[in-house]
Symmetry: C2
Subunit: 436 residues, 2 copies
């Protein structure tokens, strides 16, 4: 072959970034690959909007068949996003012998298994580094150089929109709603930010990382997912006061016979590296039995960083093609017949520390009632803040617990929230201090 | 082939770690590779010392030919270190068709080119992830997933011994000598720590990273290398006061027609992530044109982390063997006929900011004399500290400069140090605030 030919499905922001890499670094890519990478076709429904890149005549098409059924295309890059038609396009491209590079976390988290099976049947590769952590090479690190490790856990700050909002709330003492509005105006949040702020995007990503690290299928429906819409400015103030940051943390833990995979606002000590990952940056913390802890940090989104990851995958497949490698690295890091089906531990069974903010009337005996119920459910108090308040009928009481079982916390809070002295539902934020 | 057979040259600390990975994670390695990894032979001059691992009878040998000329060995892991006999062993193993995995930064930095040529002639692979940053997968990140980027610079804290010493000096206000002694007692510094504390080990590592990032040969003799033995407690105090940390920073920059590759104690703002890499940890900061900045952090040394990196390389070669890949990824990341020979910019030509500590008599007109000479050489002052001192005839004056040419700094200091008012040679520490 004289060149490796790539077809681009989806000429949006990331697609434009991919074309920019192919154009700006054409020589460099060839010097590192040994062959030319050639853009064979770009397909999008909209081929008239100016994206600021020049394309040769005839490269643009609105017909997806020009890529997925084009015998000249070696690698199809899917940047459409979402489940359909992306999935159908990918499966047809695979059936036609194309290798796949995708940034589609939703599709891979929910339908990765179906795509994997199709790819193995057809002897093609599927790579998806850009699906998690933007430009951070975390998937290739797990599948390749760190693969001699038994990973005990993987933690991540994986959504730039949420991290930007929480960082702004922390630095400026603002509430969620106005910061979201600013983020939308600045382009850091989508017009419909639901998938980001409700934690779904983060959940897709941690499901993929947990699958890769622990060698198991991950039942996405069982991933506990709580977004940041209920994080209040007052909780961030208390967190700061106690030496914590609140992050939307993605947590994957390997417990041997089951796994934990969950996403929720989490307090982490402000001395931890993860707490210092601010703004739109992402980071992943891996713990391997030989590696120990390692942190990978970088741009978690954006045209350029994501294009870097996409093109890293294209280069890997190109190297496989040129060197004659067939099915070199298993798509999910483990040989497909060795992938486990570890169940996800139910949230009610998890053990964590908890930040609890009670909103109570300022009256004698309040603390005795609350601490009595906590004690009944084996929840022991590590520290407490009852700030002095003037005015107002409702006052906050903040309690940090020692490790407790979530089920017990839920039962205790249900009982406490029935008390007449309690004015608002109690706010709970999990606290992670045991990074393994 | 039923299994991939590895031979281990050097049964020291890291070799023991490699055996521990092969034993503890045997099943996991097979699940990820698809074949068994088999330890075929372990060669060391000392085969009697108990290293705390059990080996099958007949595996140990004192005869290097049992690996480098053994037709049963697919991959030779070189963990002897140093130039000879490691180099001769590697070249003979290559001639006999063995793939090579090595942790030998000194050998690769100085004789990598000779090894590369031999490997290409014999169609074998040479991998050396463990040579830089211990368990941090930085070499594979540069060569593989980030390879679509044009890197503008690479910065690293690459020596755990130096970083431990500087961290202790910073936290405890101690001088260099007693901290080195403690480090030796704790096993964080060698009995002969010269290569570490004089910066040579760090220079080997940044020479490799610069070569990989910038696609060029790096003339190691031209790498400016200054260790940490002259870092004084007083300089650390001033740095802290001004909001900086002092690190032994390895710096690689691509200027297009030439490169900077240098190692020296460096002040970096304490708000930078690199400033927070403490103790024996390592970190590498990469800047790519699409990636943007990224940071990879982890254990920079030690039995387990280094064994993780060695075994990552073994797995990569195993995957190449099984999948039929021949010469998949170029040894230095670029096709060997595309590797440049960019000259290293002479130190006298570099532009930097500088911390200058003058030791002067406490007399009128001192500052005028010093600032006059600095001005003569186009060196402008950004900030100054002249602490109030009681007693003593000699007092420190600290000046932070704006960007200046090193040659001008040298000329100015030569002139200043001749002044009668100057009591000791002026201390210079370069300041890095422009990370690119």
């Amino acid at each position: 072959m004289d060149s490796i030919k790539v077809g681009l499905l989806g000429f949006g922001t990331i697609g434009t970034g991919v074309i920019r890499v192919l154009q700006k670094n054409a020589d460099l890519l060839q010097q590192r690959l040994g062959k030319k990478l050639e853009l064979a076709k770009v397909v999008d429904l909209d081929i008239t909007t100016d994206r600021g890149v020049q394309l040769e005549a005839g490269l643009l098409s609105t017909d997806v068949e020009d890529i997925i059924s084009n015998p000249d295309v070696d690698i199809a890059i899917e940047l459409i996003g979402g489940y359909e038609p992306a999935k159908s396009f990918i499966l047809k491209a695979i059936a036609n012998g194309k290798h796949i590079v995708t940034a589609n976390k939703a599709l891979m988290a929910l339908h990765g298994q179906e795509i994997l099976v199709a790819a193995e049947e057809n002897g093609v590769e599927v790579m998806f580094e850009a699906a998690v952590g933007g430009g951070i090479p975390v998937i290739s690190a797990i599948k390749e150089n760190l693969c001699a490790n038994d990973f005990s856990n993987v933690l991540g700050i994986l959504n730039g929109t949420c991290n930007y909002i929480l960082t702004e709330m922390t630095e400026n003492g603002s509430d969620f709603a106005p910061v979201l509005k600013d983020a939308q105006e600045l382009g850091y949040a989508e017009a419909d930010p639901t998938f980001d702020i409700e934690g779904v995007d983060t959940a897709h990503k941690i499901a993929l990382l947990a699958a890769l690290c622990f060698g198991t299928k991950v039942d996405f429906d069982k991933v506990y997912t709580e977004g940041i819409t209920n994080v209040a400015a007052i909780d961030i103030q208390f967190a700061t006061q106690m030496g914590y940051k609140i992050k939307l943390l993605a947590i994957g833990k390997n417990l041997g016979d089951q796994i934990e995979v969950r996403v929720h606002p989490t307090m982490i000590p402000d001395s931890y590296q993860l707490s210092e990952v601010d703004g739109v940056f992402n980071a992943v913390r891996l713990s391997g039995d030989f590696l120990g802890p390692a942190l990978l940090y970088g741009s978690g989104a954006g045209m350029d960083a994501t294009a870097s990851a996409v093109m890293g995958d294209v280069m890997a497949i190109g190297r496989d093609m040129i060197s004659g490698a067939k099915r070199r690295t298993p798509i999910m890091g483990y040989c497909s017949d060795q992938i486990d089906e570890l169940p996800i531990k139910p949230m009610s069974d998890i053990i964590s520390r908890y930040y609890l903010r009670f909103t109570v009337v300022d009256a004698p005996g309040v603390l005795a009632q609350i601490s009595g119920i906590l004690g009944k459910y084996d929840i022991s108090i590590q520290s407490m803040i009852q700030p002095e308040r003037h005015a107002a009928d409702a006052v906050p009481i903040v309690i940090m617990t020692h490790e407790a079982k979530e089920d017990n916390i839920n039962k205790a809070l249900a009982e406490i929230d029935q008390l007449k002295i309690v004015q608002e539902p109690t706010r709970l934020i999990r606290v992670e201090t045991n990074l393994g």
